[in-house]
Symmetry: C2
């Protein structure tokens, strides 16, 4: 088991990475203020792993409430959130109850937002079971739900007490979701870690073959990168180049997700296509050369990720991007690449170039 | 104008109290990070004061979005909250937009929770227009909405940047709401400030006649008491005798509000009846004598507040109180009075005595 620490003063916490963490119940019980927990999962993950978690918790004397939600980004909304509140209240969970998220990014976002707002805040633990959740959603405390007018528009920052990233749970992950997770892994290389990008390029076949050691290393290095960024800018308030850099490809990607309807494209897929658009625009600004853009496309394509965006048309993209949280005082701030391994926030991209980059990257 | 400071390290803020604060727009504009604000009000308050606020903001160069909600505790729910989100998104309010609550406690709770969760948190300013909101809801950062199974079950702690308690807005307050506010004023005397209780008893006729100086003094002293308590226990995590003391009468009162249906009883009215139950139970535990209990009833009755609870029956009360946030690990913690001017949290009241106290205080 590898352990990383996320340094956030009194909200600091550990991320444990390795096989069979679901059986190491003490990693959870050590963090519970009282012997009460509510495990939130979904209809896909619950049959695979829920009993393993709840039975070991109960054997340790914990009163456990189980809440099973429908699966998918299309359910990351108020109705599903309310299902969690209903379950907590029906089981008389009080505000010392720890909410445990067992599932992918959607479960983490929903359960985390429920933890942030149930009785004005209860403790929270993450057990991410997808690669994307392990390398991204479970680090940094972002929680929330979607609004019909925009993704993640309603939410809170709420840090977990501990994160258990069990590599064995990746064995049951569909291929498409493995690829979606790799999009975020590749992102860390692109924005701030060129040696890691080179390692990914050299080891992509092992990652695609689910080599346990390669995956554990990729998770650890991704989480370490994210933890460093988050520690420097917990609430994404830095004007430039703080936590916002983690959003490479996300503003374009959110437009795809919102424009097509949540759930059609996986988040990681939309981010992949969005990173290509960001690379294309970076090229048009004179920062990346054509070979760099091709290199971005190539590593994403090898991970079986889309490198061509949804055909919404530039107008619709720009309209949807105008709702993005990265808009500050009316100006669209994008994350672009100064070079491979170094991202920057940029509010001065000419709208014509943004349109041209979108056009160039859509079918 | 009197100004109090609430000391919460980097979340500290000022409360200004006095006449005509709505016209002193600089008290607001000084706190805006960008020239964008969204003023949230309701159908009762908006015709009286909304234009005065928004016109002066616009004259100062601020882009203002107006959001007007239906009035009343029965609307303190997800649907109404979503009306705020819809208004913010439709007007493309970004996360530098400051949300301004203009209204009573319900507006403060709704707008504050919207501020805590819109794009994971935006700045917030309170302009409370009712006595209850001025002395209670606007201090301390509690925000939230009701759930069919319990009051204030969903929410967050979110501190305002500044509070403007304008005493002239109390001129338009219905008598019943003035009384409801006085319930919380009296509460501060009961829980921690016997000299203030004595001042209230001596000046209750002036308060009921809306004497401006008497009201300003009562607001200031109430806010000062609350600010001291909150500064010592911002998130109500103290095991004993911290912020929880502010909930005198609230656990019983919430049972009335939930049991009868939100909106029938005003919050302050339910708290008044709840404080009588707490005093009665304190007497049964040997802490207050009968004359003390009568004194509590007398000052509340002089403020035209109910001193007899809703006839739900002790079983229903206890069931509803079991959902209360003051339940920790299955034990009901009540706020009771050791003596007039000194409250304590208490988890050891025998259930039989709780039932007897409820019985004694219901019609």
């Amino acid at each position: 088991m590898r352990t990383l620490s996320v340094a956030l003063s009194d909200r600091s916490y550990d991320i444990h990475i390795g096989p069979n963490l679901l059986d190491r119940v003490q990693l959870i019980t050590d963090r519970l203020p009282t012997a009460q927990a509510a495990v939130v999962s979904n209809t896909i993950v619950a049959p695979l792993y829920l009993a393993r978690v709840t039975e070991s918790l109960r054997a340790a004397g914990i009163r456990v409430t189980e809440i099973v939600l429908p699966d998918g980004e299309s359910h990351k909304n108020w109705e599903t959130l309310n299902t969690i509140f209903d379950g907590l209240l029906a089981n008389r969970c009080d505000r010392s109850t720890t909410i445990v998220a067992l599932g992918g990014g959607v479960i983490g976002d929903l359960a985390g937002f429920a933890a942030a707002t149930y009785q004005r805040g209860v403790p929270f633990i993450q057990i991410p079971t997808t690669l994307l959740a392990q390398v991204d959603s479970s680090v940094g405390g972002k929680t929330g739900i979607n609004h019909p007018r925009g993704k993640n528009m309603i939410g809170a920052f709420w840090q977990p007490k501990v994160v258990l990233a069990g590599t064995d749970t990746l064995a049951t992950l569909p291929d498409r979701e493995l690829s979606a997770g790799l999009a975020e892994v590749i992102k860390y290389g692109l924005i701030r870690d060129l040696p890691f990008l080179e390692w990914i390029e050299a080891n992509l076949d092992r990652l695609m073959a689910r080599d346990a050691d390669a995956l554990a290393y990729a998770i650890e290095r991704s989480c370490a990168n994210k933890a460093e960024v988050v520690a420097g800018d917990e609430r994404e308030t830095a004007k430039d180049n703080g936590r916002a850099l983690l959003n490479l490809g996300h503003t374009f990607g959110h437009a795809i997700e919102t424009g097509i309807g949540y759930g059609e494209w996986l988040h990681g897929e939309a981010v992949a296509a969005g990173m290509v658009m960001a690379a294309e625009l970076s090229n048009r600004l004179g920062w990346l050369n054509r070979a760099d853009v091709e290199r971005v496309c190539s590593v994403l394509a090898r991970a079986r990720l889309p490198v061509v965006g949804a055909s919404l048309g530039p107008d619709r993209y720009l309209d949807l991007m105008g709702h993005d949280k990265k808009v500050i005082a009316g100006r669209l701030r994008l994350v672009l690449l100064k070079r491979l391994g170094e991202a920057t926030t940029w509010a001065d991209a000419p709208p014509g170039e943004i349109r041209a980059a979108i056009d160039a990257c859509c079918a």
